[in-house]
């Protein structure tokens, strides 16, 4: 199999078939990368500009260990500047602190759905964009520590620390989303609470589950 680097070089030299092959290999990952943060159309547009940047900026690909890493490094910068442009109007964007969602409320009805994807997805989106990106590239794209270091342009040791911290933040976010029922304030409330929960359980574990 022709490797990515050869395909890229060929594409740069005008071989669109090589370009299409490279595109087919990486479209899903890049689209997924953007789509979990912005809408479909914008995501597709950014995938396009990411590929274009790789083809046009011949000198851009230097130290990276793989085309894939290079693509994600470009994609990350594109994402940040896109988010920045969205938010320039009203407030400062900082990938380190800004997350892609604003929590309007806390969850409920999580009694028996504690491991649903939705919780994970929601937790991911609660994190600062940089943290979310880091985790997605780690878990979804299986990028190694050194590859992540290239994408984020920091030392590998720093990435390990960040990754550890990111996992903690995610775990915390998940915990918060799975927070249990409120504390009962008096005994009769406790009783009422318990029976309500039993009732709810009976219903949700009924014919459907």
């Amino acid at each position: 199999m022709v490797d990515d680097f050869e395909l890229l070089t060929a594409w740069r030299d005008g071989d669109t078939e090589a370009g299409q092959r490279l595109f087919a290999r990486h479209f899903d990952a890049l689209f997924r990368f953007f789509r979990n943060k912005i809408g479909d159309n914008d995501a597709a547009d950014l995938v396009q500009t990411t590929f274009l940047a790789c083809v046009e900026r011949r000198d851009g690909f230097r130290g990276e260990s793989s085309v894939r890493t290079f693509l994600f490094a470009v994609a990350r910068r594109r994402l940040y500047s896109h988010l920045e442009s969205i938010h320039r109007a009203d407030r400062r964007f900082d990938a380190g602190v800004t997350s892609v969602v604003d929590i309007g409320a806390t969850p409920s009805q999580l009694v028996d759905r504690k491991r649903s994807y939705s919780v994970l997805l929601a937790a991911l989106r609660m994190l600062p964009v940089e943290t979310q990106t880091l985790l997605e590239l780690h878990y979804w794209e299986k990028l190694s520590g050194s590859q992540l270091a290239e994408v984020f342009a920091v030392a590998e040791g720093t990435i390990r620390t960040r990754l550890r911290r990111a996992k903690q933040l995610l775990a915390e976010a998940i915990d918060r989303l799975r927070e249990g029922p409120p504390m009962a304030t008096a005994e009769e409330n406790l009783e009422a609470w318990a029976s309500e929960v039993r009732e709810e359980f009976a219903r949700s574990k009924g014919p459907e589950q």
């Binding site: 299409q20 479209f27 892609v100 969602v101 604003d102 929590i103 009805q109 939705s118 409120p182 219903r203």
Partner: protein, 969 residues
């Protein structure tokens, strides 16, 4: 860097760990987000065509709908803008993510959507149809060109009445859905859309239930994916989670929803009220850092007052409050019932005609156009500007008042608000003028001009502020005349302000003089105004002038002249058919009468008149004022009734920001009544609230705040709490700093401190405070009653010290003053006699003392009755004197009565009575009974205070010294 790393590693053990199953699920999520999505394939084709040329893919379609673009996207899915080529209209399509874990969810959602399609209501977004696109479910619905309620609210400050109208319209949508058997389950401002023509529509009914976790996702997203114009809002800064510790702002969920319990329409009602509350008052009704805390706050039922306090929504607040009840049963039975209350009350508040618009489901959009100018003479900026603010701050700072800065701030804030409110009121009146006749609009604008004059006159007084003005400044702003009354004026109503600009200005400056504490000037100005108004034939303004003069005279202590003025004002107002003025004057008269305390009979009559007039005119604020007056009237004779009156009033006014000062007065009354009823705990509770309130409103060093300290000190001290002394000291410090030496308030604090130190047994301190107080009192008013009061305190301290000759001298001073000012048979005079008698007895001059006790015992019963505990003092004194005089039989008579009346007296007092009683019984030969009394004295000794023991020892010595034959036990 290394340090940071180490810290993070060190902390990691304590931090949350990502569970292995979560890690696994996270990996699975990779495919869950994209696989089987036809939209991804479309995008791929699009990008591929753009990059490599080739045929552009045909426009994306879902069923027969041609996709035009994305409106929004979120974790739940996307909302697309599409075109229906068959019916040639735009539609919105909600495309939900594949429900991988719950295959039935899509089916369920389709069912739900199809039944929703049966529901048609002007305030509900119409659902057209639903289907599947690949394995993603979609719903096509009415396309709304507009914004969400969240955006609408955030766009600019909105008038409370308009906000309420939007909510009422949205509420009608909810009600219709409830009627059809749907529960929304996620009502929030994001799910209310307002189109460009002002129509209000609710979206997203019931989808929460149809899709597992959609509620979670929706609320997490913060923006509804059904939202009309939010493509840029997929990204939000998230301050609450940036440190990873605080849970996000809780939304509009009902408590039963938080518990995950079964929901019905009443849950929507709760969410509706929570959203409306937030919109009106700027704060969510309940707060909690976590769901537990939030649920707890709901259970406790303490609502947040809110950061905004719009006028005229007090009634709406109460309606919403009920909708926010913890128990669904305590809410309204239906949205219809709630809306009925809300619209009735809101219309009563404004009478804007907007209610009728809301009924049609449309929000009035103010027309811009070729109409003639309106309210041009009303430029609130002229009455108030930032230059005014700077100049007031400057002027205030030049007075010696230590609270000048706080006052300047409160005052300028208040005036700015008031000016802005005039501006808004003008806009409201002008916007509404197509529906009103010219005379009505003119009447309303004239009223607003009067309000503007009032503001201007106050600003002028502040520009020339002296210490008195600064002291009263905050209240003067609070008492600016209410603006909302202008908006409801009709041309046939009695005018609220003089038509003549000169009279208007004169009235405004007389009001400002009175409001800033310049009573004498106010009397002068209102006298001049009365004359010119009479000459001009302006009856209403003449009445205003008289009422104003009466009020100023009441405050100056000229009660008789004040009553004459007020009754004349009432007579003129009644004759001229000025019913609102007559009502206000009656209430004013009753209020001042009740405060005066010396006119109980007349006040009772005035209250009846006032009540009749209030019922007739239905002026709500006068009703509250009347209740306050009633409480004061009941205070002396029937403190329990007074307590009940104040209590009811305080409850009624709870949370009504626009009546905050009245509420504070009700609480003050309630605390005084509680003191009277010896419920020091209740008194302390209200006093603490009042202290917080005055601190915030006037600043720590304001004399009013000192009054609150004093009141709290009183409640705590009488409740046996040592902390009370600290509050007395705080009061004293402030009063000494802001008032000239010898001010009655300063003396009051000194006396209270003397009393407190005496109780604590710190006699030197007590004497120092009492002597300071007396010296001050004698400097400022040697002839005043205050001298008697302070002398009494000093005498009591000297008595406790054992300086009976000095004590006798102090009590003699008090007696002389009371006798002269209050007469020989007054209560205070009688008590002073008894006090003097006690000092004389202990000084060995019992024969001198006996006629004093006799006189006290003769004059007290007609005043307090035969059974009053105060009688125990002269009875005890007379008894001891009789023992000393060698008349044990006489002594036994007096002491037996004293003993019966002193059942609730302090233990030292009772021990003294028992001791004297024992001596009398022994002298009369009843050794058995005597021993029994002595045993009681002994028992008391084991628990006595040092001061009490000293007192008893002195009495013992006195009794033994004069009766050497007596044996001591």
């Amino acid at each position: 860097m290394t340090d940071v790393n180490r810290t993070m590693e060190g902390d990691s053990a304590a931090l949350a760990e990502l569970a292995p199953q979560d890690e696994h699920a996270l990996e699975e999520l990779r495919s869950a987000t994209l696989d089987g999505d036809p939209r991804k394939e479309h995008q791929r084709a699009r990008v591929q065509a753009a990059l490599f040329g080739g045929p552009t893919p045909p426009p994306e379609t879902i069923a027969r709908y041609r996709i035009l673009g994305e409106i929004g996207s979120g974790a739940m899915g996307e909302v697309l803008e599409a075109y229906d080529d068959v019916l040639t209209r735009k539609v919105a399509i909600k495309l939900v993510h594949r429900q991988r874990r719950s295959p039935r969810a899509s089916t369920r959602m389709l069912q739900e959507a199809r039944s929703l399609a049966q529901l048609s209501h002007p305030n509900v977004v119409q659902v057209y149809e639903a289907g599947m696109h690949g394995d993603r479910a979609w719903i096509a619905m009415e396309h709304i060109d507009g914004q969400s309620l969240t955006e609408w609210l955030g766009a600019k400050p909105r008038d409370a009445s308009v906000i309420l109208d939007v909510f009422i319209a949205a509420g009608r949508g909810l009600a219709a859905a409830h009627e059809a058997g749907f529960v929304h389950r996620d009502f929030k401002p994001d799910n209310v859309l307002i189109d460009t023509r002002g129509r209000v529509k609710v979206v997203d009914f019931g989808l929460v239930r149809a899709i597992p976790d959609s509620h979670l996702l929706e609320t997490l997203e913060g923006d509804s994916t059904f939202n009309g114009a939010n493509s840029s809002s997929t990204l939000h800064p998230h301050p609450l989670t940036q440190d990873g510790t605080v849970l996000g702002t809780p939304g509009y969920m009902s408590p039963e929803q938080i518990r995950g319990a079964a929901l019905d329409a009443r849950s929507d009602q709760f969410s509706f009220c929570a959203a409306a509350w937030f919109a009106l008052f700027g704060e969510r009704p309940f707060k909690g850092a976590t769901l537990r805390h939030l649920h707890y706050a709901m259970h406790q039922g303490t609502v947040e007052a809110g950061t905004q306090q719009p006028r005229g929504v007090g009634a709406a607040r109460r309606v919403l409050r009920r909708g926010l009840s913890f128990k669904p049963d305590e809410r309204f039975a239906s949205m219809d019932e709630l809306l009925e209350q809300l619209s009735v009350r809101s219309r009563r508040g404004w009478v804007l005609g907007a209610g009728a618009v809301a009924l049609a489901g449309t929000l009035a959009v103010a027309s811009v156009g070729e109409e003639p100018p309106c309210g041009e003479g009303l430029d609130p900026d002229a009455a108030w500007s930032s230059e005014h603010a700077a100049s007031i701050t400057d002027t205030f700072a030049r007075t010696p008042a230590p609270y000048a800065a706080v006052t300047a701030q409160r005052v300028t804030e208040g005036m700015k608000r008031y000016a802005a409110e005039i501006g808004r009121a003008r806009d409201t009146v002008c916007a509404d003028r197509s529906r009103s006749d010219t005379a009505t609009v003119d009447a309303r604008l004239a009223c607003l001009e009067g309000r503007s004059s009032a503001l201007g006159a106050l600003a002028s007084r502040f520009d020339a502020a002296d210490a008195t003005t600064v002291e009263h400044a905050v209240d003067a702003v609070t008492h600016l005349p209410p603006i909302r009354r202008c908006i409801t004026r009709g041309s046939g109503d009695e005018p609220l302000v003089p038509a003549d600009p000169d009279l208007r200005a004169a009235l405004a400056s007389a009001h400002a003089a009175r409001g800033t504490g310049h009573g004498a000037l106010a009397v002068e100005l209102s006298s001049a105004l009365l004359q010119s108004a009479t000459e001009a034939g302006d009856e209403a303004t003449a009445v205003d002038a008289r009422v104003l003069r009466a009020t100023a005279r009441f405050e100056q202590g000229e009660h008789d002249a004040a009553v004459t003025d007020m009754t004349a004002a009432i007579a003129r107002a009644t004759a001229a058919g000025l019913e609102e003025r007559a009502t206000e004057a009656w209430v004013d008269l009753a209020t001042h009468g009740a405060r005066d305390l010396r006119r109980p009979t007349e006040t009772a009559r005035w209250l009846v008149h006032a009540e009749g007039w209030v019922e007739r005119t239905g002026l709500e604020d006068q009703r509250w004022a009347l209740e306050l007056a009633r409480g004061h009237h009941q205070f002396l004779g029937a403190p329990a009734d007074a307590y009940a009156t104040f209590d009811a009033l305080a409850e009624d006014l709870e949370g009504r920001a626009e009546l905050e000062q009245l509420a504070a007065r009700a609480r003050h009354g309630r605390s005084m009544a509680a003191m009277q009823l010896r419920d020091t705990e209740a008194a302390a509770r209200d006093s603490r609230w009042l202290l917080d309130y005055t601190r915030h409103k006037y600043g720590e060093q304001h004399p009013f705040t000192a009054s609150s300290h004093y009141g709290l000190g009183l409640a705590l001290f009488h409740g046996g709490n040592e902390e009370g002394v600290e509050h007395y000291r705080a009061a004293l410090e402030t009063w000494q700093a802001v008032y000239p030496s010898g001010h009655p308030e300063t003396i009051k604090a000194l006396v209270a401190l003397a009393d407190a130190e005496l109780s604590a047994g710190r006699l030197p301190q007590a004497r120092q405070y009492a002597e300071d107080a007396l010296q001050m009192q004698q400097e400022v008013g040697p002839e005043e009653l205050g001298v008697a009061e302070v002398s009494t305190v000093l005498g009591v301290v000297q008595h406790a010290e054992g300086h009976f000759d000095l004590a006798a001298r102090s009590h003699r001073t008090a007696l002389a003053r009371y006798e002269k000012r209050l007469g020989p048979d007054d209560y205070n005079t009688a008590v002073a006699r008894s006090n003097l008698g006690e000092a004389l007895v202990m000084d060995g001059r019992y024969e001198e003392a006996r006629p004093l006790f006799e006189s006290a015992l003769a004059s007290l019963p007609p005043v307090v009755g035969d059974e009053h505990p105060v009688l125990a003092f002269p009875l005890k004194g007379a008894g001891i004197a009789a023992v000393l005089a060698g008349e044990p039989e006489e002594a036994i008579l007096q002491l037996a009565r004293a003993r019966a009346l002193a059942k609730d007296a302090d233990p030292a007092e009772r021990a003294e009575i028992d001791l004297a009683y024992a001596h009398a019984l022994a002298a009369s030969g009843d050794a058995v009974q005597s021993a029994a009394r002595r045993a009681e004295v002994q028992a008391w000794r084991t628990s006595a205070t040092e001061l009490g023991l000293t007192r008893l020892d002195r009495l013992q010595r006195r009794l033994s010294a004069s009766a050497p034959a007596e044996s001591d036990g």
